[in-house]
Subunit: 233 residues, 2 copies
DNA sequence: AGGAAGCGGAATGTTGTCCTCCATATGGAG
DNA sequence: CTCCATATGGAGGACAACATTCCGCTTCCT
């Protein structure tokens, strides 16, 4: 379907060879830098790190938003794939675990993606789409895992989201101790999620969060109140 | 040793009545604002919110640091009290739970305290002192809880710190859904920490974090990379 | 009433961003 | 090999947030 492409769509006339090289260089550098520092990394840092002037960067991407879009265009597909894999597993518990771990792997490896997923960007329609695409399958997984007696009966889908966010935070915290250190804590949380026979699960005093409230949590979150700066001019 | 003080202890000569009133007003307002927004709240916000000019604020507190010190001077005492209460409990597990929950209550209620505890301030000697004051008792609690068969044998004290930090993040995330919502998730985590008979605990693939690494995690953390701004001039 | 103590808030200095502009350099078509 | 459309680098403009200072004016207290 597409052949002489570069990023998203084919340009009317091909770029000059050096321009194309720089474009890819910028993309690769930005990917690495955002992965390491999150979306807060400045475009000047990206340019410097790519060994290129800011002007060049702006020649290829009209603004910060465009660069980020180019980088994370396929993020949704990745998530959807994970969800599908999870749904395909016979045991709901395994699917749930796969979903949580895979999403966490992604975000532990790439802070930029973490920021994208946690709605660091003010508007972003993709975000809502994504959450709509995730919610029903997640609900299914939770339901299935409960019926099969693996997941504690008093948990709901929203709880999974909350624990996932918490785990992302934990993963970032322990990142300095090793890129895989978070798995240890994820395992502990999974043990807490597991259904136990006969009073083995403590009673959850607080009621679950309903979907509207969860939405509010996501909106109010902004990961520690840091904001991705908006455009000027 | 010094007498003509300003902040913590009684001033040599009493303040004028209006000045004293303003001072208390500023302290109360700052306490509320920092509790709500964390240490990132600007002094201009504090002043405006107190219905006072910034100049007045600076007359009472020479700089941001001084105000924060005045507000959180007794924080260490509070923590130490919690630790003592925890140690006094016969079951290590109960002590551990008390310690984690009480610390979480504090930080869920007061984001400013959270920032103080999580070393948002660059230097801060109090911070190191605090961690030194916490580590040995925590170690004791963990040891005791393991011996009494309540805490899973494969956990160590550092794990507790990590989970606590994760819980603080979770608490902030769900704060919008209610100030007590975090308790639900803390319970799930506690269930994950519990020792289970005969293979009821999953194997933790990743090794525990040693104390030096944990230190590095705290240093590198800065809660989502946001920094408390340093002084100018 | 008078002066010391206190007050407000405009102004200053600084840092950190995004993005624009334009003099200069370069690939590649002819 | 020449020439010019295409690209490039990076200085500089425009903002925004803050911490902190300064000083003319006000308010208490004696």
């Amino acid at each position: 379907m597409d052949e002489g492409q570069i990023t998203t769509t084919a340009p009317a006339r091909p770029l000059r060879r050096d321009a194309e090289r720089n474009r890819q260089l910028i993309l690769a550098t930005a990917r690495a830098l955002f992965a390491e520092r999150g979306l807060a990394a400045s475009l000047e840092d990206v340019a410097r790190s790519a060994g290129v002037g800011v002007g060049t960067l702006y020649r290829h991407f009209p603004n910060r938003e465009a660069l980020i879009d180019a980088l994370f265009a396929d993020a949704i597909d990745t998530i959807v794939r994970i969800v599908d894999e999870a749904l395909a597993m016979p045991r709901g518990w395994d699917g749930l675990q796969h979903f949580m771990v895979a999403l966490l792997e992604l975000q532990a490896r790439d802070k930029g993606l973490r920021d994208v997923l946690l709605a660091q960007r003010a508007n972003d329609p993709a975000d809502d789409i994504l959450r709509e695409r995730i919610k029903p399958p997640l609900e299914t997984l939770v339901q299935r895992a409960k019926e099969q007696g693996d997941l504690r009966a008093d948990m709901v889908a929203a709880d999974v989201s909350v624990l996932e966010v918490a785990a992302v935070g934990a993963a970032e915290f322990v990142a300095a101790a090793g890129p895989e250190a978070w798995r240890r804590y994820m395992t502990i949380v999974f043990d807490g999620m597991r259904a136990r026979p006969e009073g083995g699960n403590s009673r959850l005093e607080q009621p679950p969060i309903d979907d509207d409230r969860l939405e509010v949590c996501f909106e109010g979150w902004k990961y520690g109140s840091r904001q991705i700066p908006r455009q000027h001019h």
